[in-house]
C-alpha cells in the first residue's frame, strides 16, 4: 500500500488526555503505509494543532481521544475553518459513545474510529481522504 505522492498528516492528542498508545500505533501504521506523520504527542490545544497544520501544510489531522474530551475536537474543526484550513480533514479515534459519533460527524469530523477499528480501514480512510486534498497553486 505504498504511495508515491507526498502525504503528510498530523497525529495528535488533544487537551489533557494522556493515553498515547492508540496515537502511537496509528502513527506507525500510517508511516508503514508511506505517509509522513507529524507526531505532536500529548497536551495539544486546538490552537496549537491549527498552527501546526498550517506550518506543516498537512492534508489531514488524526486525533486520538480516550478521555471524553471530544468537544475539543469539534473546537478544532471550527478553528480550522476560521483559519482557512477547511481542506484539512479531521479524523478522530477512541472510546467515543455511539450517539457522540453521529454528533461529531454532523459537526464536520470526517470519520470516527471506535475501539476495535481495523488498521487497514484506518489507513485506507487516511489515504482516500487525503489523495484529493493536494494543494495546487
Amino acid at each position: 500500500m505504498q504511495v508515491s505522492e507526498r502525504i503528510k498528516v498530523i497525529i495528535s492528542m488533544i487537551g489533557l488526555d494522556g493515553h498515547t498508545m492508540g496515537a502511537e500505533v496509528v502513527a506507525r501504521l500510517l508511516r508503514d503505509a508511506g505517509i509522513e506523520v507529524v507526531y505532536l504527542g500529548v497536551n495539544q490545544t486546538p490552537e496549537m494543532i491549527v498552527q501546526a497544520a498550517m506550518h506543516e501544510d498537512v492534508e489531514a489531522i488524526g486525533i486520538s481521544s480516550h478521555a471524553s474530551n471530544y468537544n475539543q475536537v469539534v473546537e478544532l474543526v471550527e478553528l480550522l475553518e476560521k483559519n482557512d484550513l477547511k481542506h484539512v480533514k479531521v479524523f478522530c479515534g477512541g472510546n467515543i459513545p455511539k450517539h457522540k459519533v453521529v454528533e461529531l460527524k454532523d459537526k464536520g469530523i470526517a470519520e470516527v474510529f471506535p475501539p476495535g477499528s481495523s488498521g487497514k480501514k484506518i489507513v485506507e480512510t487516511f489515504l482516500n481522504g487525503t489523495r484529493g486534498g493536494k494543494w495546487s497553486n
Binding site: E5, A33, E36, H55, W135
Partner: protein, 321 residues
C-alpha cells in the same frame, strides 16, 4: 533576466513580507518536486540577505530538539523572529516517516513569530532532507532573524550540515559512550560550537573536560588568528546554559562578520557544495529516466564490455556521443 509570472510575483511578495502560510505551501511544492519552480527559487535567492542559518546536529536523542526549543525561547526574548527546519528520518522501506521534533518545541506552538517545519529526510544520508537546500532558499528570503536547521541524528555523517549553515552547533551527551563522538568523522572541523547537553548527568563534567581537551587539539587557524571552538554545557529540559549558547552563537556570527575574507571563504565552500548538489540532482534526473539523455543504446557498448562506465561518464560530461 526572466520576468516572474504574476502568480510567482505574488508569492515572492508574500514571502518577503513574511507570510508563513505562503511559505508552508511553497515548501510542500518543493517537497513534491513540482516542476516550474526554478524561476521563483532564483528570485528568492536574489531576495535573500545575510547569513543567518544555524545548524544543530548531533547523535540521535542527544536533545537537539529540546535544545532548539530553548534556543527559540532565548531568541524570542531578545526580540528575534525564528524559523526552524527540523529533519527526521524516513523509513527506508515505505518512505513514510514519523516526524517527532516538533513535539519537543510545543512551547512555541502558537507564537506567530516562530515558524516550525518538519521534514522527512527521504532516504538521504547525512542528516538533511533532499530538498533542504531549496527550502532554505525560501526561508532565507523571508524576514527571519535566524533560521535553525535540526539535522537527523545519524551519529556518523552529520558533516553535511556545514554545507548549509553559517554556524554549526554539535550537540552531544555524556551518555553517548566513553569515547567522545567528536573524535570521529572529522566532525571536529565542522563544528563552530560544542554543546554538552544533559548536564544534569553525573558524568557531564568529566565529559566536558574530555571534549575540551579534544577541541584544544583541533585548534584551527582562521585567517590570521587561532580559533578554538567553545564548549557549552546545557540542560535543555530546563534551559540551563542556553543563554550562554545563544551568546556564543551570536559571537560566532559577529566574528564571521568581522572577518569578511573568512566568511567569504566559508560561503564559497558552501556554494560549491550547493552547485555540486544541484548538478548531481540534474544529472540524476537526466540519466536515470530511461528516455532521457542516456538512452539504452548508449549503454550497449558498456554492456558488451567494449567500454567501461568511466569512459561513458567522461563522454557524457563532455557532451560527446
Amino acid at each position: 533576466m526572466v520576468q516572474l509570472s504574476a502568480k510567482d510575483q505574488l508569492i515572492l511578495d508574500a514571502l518577503t513580507s513574511g507570510c508563513v502560510r505562503t511559505c508552508a505551501r511553497l515548501i510542500s511544492r518543493i517537497e513534491r518536486g513540482e516542476p516550474g519552480l526554478v524561476e521563483l527559487l532564483r528570485a528568492l535567492y536574489m531576495a535573500g540577505g545575510s547569513e543567518k542559518i544555524i545548524g544543530i546536529t548531533g547523535p540521535p536523542g542527544a536533545g537537539k530538539s529540546s535544545l532548539v526549543a530553548k534556543v527559540i525561547g532565548v531568541l524570542r526574548r531578545r526580540g528575534n523572529r525564528v524559523a526552524v527546519l527540523a529533519v527526521d528520518p524516513s523509513s527506508p522501506f515505505t518512505g513514510g516517516a514519523i516526524l517527532g521534533d516538533r513535539l519537543r518545541m510545543i512551547g512555541h506552538a502558537t507564537d506567530p513569530e516562530v515558524f516550525i517545519r518538519s521534514m522527512a529526510s527521504r532516504g538521504r544520508l547525512g542528516g538533511l532532507a533532499k530538498k533542504a537546500g531549496d527550502v532554505l532558499t525560501v526561508l532565507s528570503a523571508m524576514p527571519w532573524d535566524f533560521i535553525i536547521v535540526e539535522t537527523v541524528g545519524t551519529g556518523q555523517s552529520e558533516t553535511e550540515i556545514m554545507h548549509y549553515a553559517a554556524v554549526v552547533v554539535l550537540v552531544q551527551t555524556p551518555m553517548a559512550g566513553d569515547d567522545v563522538q567528536a573524535a570521529k568523522a572529522g566532525i571536529n572541523e565542522i563544528s563552530d560550537i560544542y554543546v554538552v547537553n544533559k548536564s544534569d548527568h553525573p558524568d557531564a563534567d568529566r565529559f566536558r573536560r574530555q571534549l575540551e581537551a579534544m577541541v584544544g587539539l583541533g585548534l584551527r587557524l582562521e585567517g590570521d588568528r587561532l580559533w578554538r571552538p567553545p564548549v557549552v554545557k546545557t540542560q535543555s529540559l530546563v534551559g540551563e546554559g542556553v543563554d550562554e549558547l545563544v551568546d556564543q552563537i551570536g559571537q560566532r556570527f559577529r566574528t564571521l562578520a568581522e572577518s569578511p575574507e573568512l566568511s567569504r571563504q566559508r560561503f564559497r565552500h558552501r556554494l560549491r557544495h550547493r552547485v555540486v548538489e544541484i548538478v548531481r540532482e540534474m544529472l540524476e534526473r537526466d540519466i536515470q529516466s530511461g528516455n532521457g539523455m542516456l538512452p539504452d543504446s548508449r549503454l550497449e557498448p558498456v554492456l558488451a564490455r567494449e567500454k567501461d562506465p568511466y569512459e561513458l561518464a567522461r563522454e557524457f560530461l563532455s557532451g560527446g556521443t
